[in-house]
Symmetry: C2
Subunit: 123 residues, 2 copies
């Protein structure tokens, strides 16, 4: 049963690994529903190429498509992202740990400023 979830995660992460597809999703984040041609319009690539990306997205469950007449409405379905977030959340402690350490260091310096280390510096 955990195998199915694995495959879903595979599809989700894989779908998200392409910048065109992330841009498509980002577009749908602000628009409720867009047709295939509206989605395709900003991209330099051909319509069929965009279609393939939409296929990947809908196979991953990240969009739904409904045909009305000759136009197809695409809308976002973020649900599969929740599982991806959960997977990543397991590792969150590693960077919060790091940030905590940084914060501690900064607090320490604020309390007891070391000489010759003030001013501007990029990290």
């Amino acid at each position: 049963m955990v195998k199915f979830q694995q495959a879903q995660l595979d599809r989700t992460f894989s779908a998200l690994s392409d910048p065109t597809r992330r841009a498509l999703l980002a577009r749908l984040e602000g628009e409720e529903a867009l047709s295939v041609s509206e989605l395709a319009q900003p991209f330099a690539m051909s319509l069929p190429a965009v279609m393939k990306h939409l296929d990947v997205l809908s196979h991953a469950g990240l969009i739904t498509r409904t045909k009305t007449g000759r136009t197809v409405s695409c809308r976002l379905n973020a649900d599969p992202m929740e599982e991806a977030m959960s997977w990543l959340a397991r590792y969150q402690r590693f960077w919060t740990q790091r940030l905590d350490a940084l914060e501690a260091l900064l607090n320490e310096r604020r309390r007891d400023p070391a000489p010759g280390e003030g001013g501007s510096g990029g990290a």
Copy 2:
């Protein structure tokens, strides 16, 4: 400049889209450091195959490898996941919204139970 981040996200999501690689990372989540052969041991595939996965992970910056004598220590570096989390976080409202709506619905029913709708139901 945002292009570089895009490529990093590509690599991160792509690296995470394979179950073997996620298993390798999960292993390193609990172990601080493991050698290549220790990491490879649980898998049915050949050593070179695991090597390639490790190459992908380190190219994505998700692990670091340090050679000591003839053994190579791999350790987790979760930092790139933070960016992936941030990207996903933009969409978090979509499922929390959904959960909020569900919760509201349940509260409403608890207050004012509709007749003929009790019991078990799918979806």
